[in-house]
Symmetry: C3
Subunit: 322 residues, 3 copies
């Protein structure tokens, strides 16, 4: 039942009230919605794909939204709450717990920071800072940048101008260039004719030490999970990192690369300009992805891939000579 520092959580709710059609016998209080790894016994979790059955085995949750096909992967301590479409019901339930996480309402409590509150921070002109922000020593924030409530920025950071940062925790010695938009809601919704149902984004962005992020990048926060940029990873300009992406440490991501949601990128991965990585993939450590590639499958440790769809570098060169 850890606190979500960025989004107000309602509840607890009775499981019976959340799923009135299920006609559950017991009166069960649910305190939060969490993924399989982080759920406690008081949370509702979810299993929507066979990709996550390893996490299911060890979940501490007592109740799990899932389908009839997947329910047998749950451990004994975890009871299935059966639905037709896990993401649809997950969306509806999460909206009850977090009614304000589906749209990024701009923080209108922003103020020009007082020097007394941030004695060792340098601010450009017109910087706007929300409530309860932490900004470390020797950090400098460029003009017109907006740091929304509860954001935390470490020591020795340089944040450029015209940036917007919300729902984000930033380590030390991080350099973020001008115009970045970090911690915004991702592109997640249930398509419904006339009016889509937005998925609440209750996760955050975590940017570790020594990271560099180029100009005009966009890094969306996680939906249920977090989006993470690992230590000493450098992103060039105009990179798009979708919700729930986890990038390891010591990676080099060149300009205009795009990541679709929920992929996991290993350590020491280098990605050439304009490459794209599809959603829900696992890219190993020490992988090299050539510029312009479109990666649509998992990539094993130490592999070099290129092309659209990306294949091993050898095959790409062979095919190019045909």
């Amino acid at each position: 039942m850890g606190k979500n520092i960025f989004f107000e959580r309602k509840g607890p709710f009775l499981l019976n009230d959340l799923f009135i059609n299920l006609k559950l016998k017991k009166k069960i209080k649910i305190f939060d919605i969490r993924n399989l790894e982080s759920a406690t016994k008081d949370d509702l979790t979810f299993l929507d794909s066979i990709d996550y059955i390893n996490f299911a085995k060890t979940t501490r949750a007592k109740y799990c939204l899932t389908t009839i096909k997947l329910k047998d992967y749950l451990p004994k301590n975890c009871e299935a709450v059966l639905v037709q479409n896990v993401l649809f019901d997950l969306c509806k339930v999460t909206r009850k717990f977090y009614p304000n996480a589906d749209i990024d309402t701009p923080d209108i409590s922003l103020k020009n920071p007082k020097k007394a509150s941030y004695p060792n921070v340098k601010f450009g002109n017109n910087v706007l800072v929300g409530k309860n922000c932490k900004i470390g020593s020797n950090t400098i924030i460029g003009s017109n940048t907006i740091i929304e409530h509860n954001v935390s920025i470490g020591d020795d950071c340089t944040i450029g101008s015209q940036a917007v940062i919300r729902n984000t925790l930033i380590g030390n010695n991080v350099f973020i260039q001008d115009g970045c938009k970090i911690g915004l809601k991702g592109f997640g919704f249930i398509p419904l004719k006339g009016k889509n149902l937005r998925f609440p984004h209750i996760g955050k962005v975590i940017i570790k030490n020594n990271v560099e992020i180029g100009a005009n990048c966009t890094i969306d926060r996680g939906s249920i999970n977090n989006t993470v940029i690992g230590e000493n990873t450098f992103l060039d300009n105009q990179v798009h990192v979708a919700h729930n992406i986890k990038i390891g440490s010591d990676c080099m991501i060149a300009g205009q690369v795009g990541f679709a949601g929920s992929s996991i990128i290993g350590d020491s991965v280098s990605i050439g300009g304009q490459a794209g990585v599809s959603g829900h993939l696992k890219i190993g450590n020490n992988v090299k992805i050539g510029g312009g590639s479109g990666v649509v499958k998992d990539v094993k440790d130490g592999t070099a891939v290129m092309g659209y769809p990306a294949v091993s570098l050898k095959n790409f060169i062979k095919n190019s000579k045909k």
Copy 2:
């Protein structure tokens, strides 16, 4: 002779004065430049491609800029004004009617909005609003955002921070994320060595109800026509929509997708990340375009395409296995 609310129109001009080399006999007053569909009998229209001959049949215009090859597609009520290069002459003439639409001069009459003028609107800090803007009830505008003169925004909208919106009409319940630049001049000009001749952009952007637009997107206004984003269509981050694009309703456009000018996208179309759609295409309803694709031909209703150049999904998978 409807008014152009964003650009001051000069004239009327005599057709004889606009085309002195043509040596027209009659003294004809021309009041505006319009496309074939919307021209009235007092306007000059244009036909520059065989793609638009269906619109030519029913035009109400009495005069049409066109070439000797295309003139026979005009109806009896419409007389051809023959030129070598329709777009070049159209550009020159449009510049006479609209001398201020070829460059986006920043609106320097912007002011911080007074609460009394917008009683039911919430504004962040340093919001700048031009003259004659309309902003609906329960709409919220994020800090540092610029809304230029005559822009109209509906009820229940959320506009992020650091955005610029000009020459745009926005419906209700629209959500625009931080850093978007909407309603700017498109990439249209006559290439001339040393100094290109810019095409005036006298159209606008129309964003319908329930639309979502991700962070750092750019949506250019139309040149003669409008750029339109249909109802309940969602765009992810860093999407580029060029001038005159019309996107239907209920579409899903993933991150970093780009549209070249003047294409028409149907309803319920989904487009994967980083895909590109060439100019002057017609993409049908219920089309699915895979991520990273480059679409260079029309796509029929209900088709799934992928690849560069995009082919049917079946053929793409077959080719990938070679």
Copy 3:
């Protein structure tokens, strides 16, 4: 020993102190780090690739960082300073001369410009201008835009809103749209586990007369050289131009195109949307690059190429029909 107007240079340093392991006999004063073409006899230059041996032949530098493999390409007047990894040692030495060019510290001396200082310039609201900027007659700067110290902007320019411009010299009649970030540090560093070593970027961006740059573009300044956009070249929205790129005159660069570092693009080149150009290439004059292409090799004058990897247009069409 020309002055670098944007970055403070330390020194001179003794060559012996810069490379203590080399055990040089003479005491040589080095005043600056320059490329082969622009180095004077008082500067240290570098030769890291066989691509640049033509420049080596005529360099005026007396000392050149290079490898044992390349040293014989140096002229008699120029002595080799032998190292294992030219770029690594160049990076370390350049950091000594220019200790403040590896991170873009936001200019915190910005002020709202006084009308008296810029009598013939129109400013929007909240424009911020650094020290020693030059802004020409009849130029207009949009709201919230930041012009950092020593930037020079010519006459009759239109600079949009929400832009950031640093380390840049801009000619006359230039039009830059909203949200551009120009003159920032490029994506150059020596990868080191845990903490990369950033390459100082001591070059600038030079934008010549009559250039147009679309919204939300990013143009990085040069590392040792400059980044140059030639006369009457037009860039569409969301284009990324990396460090040291030189684009000729009269080019048309469509939306979302990306250039990796140090390539040289000729005159009258047209590049379709979303195309990418790899680093260190030479693209000739009058080249046409199709939309979505990935150019990985030099392209000769007058050639049309397309595809990924880009091949001649003929071959692309042939391959597409297979």
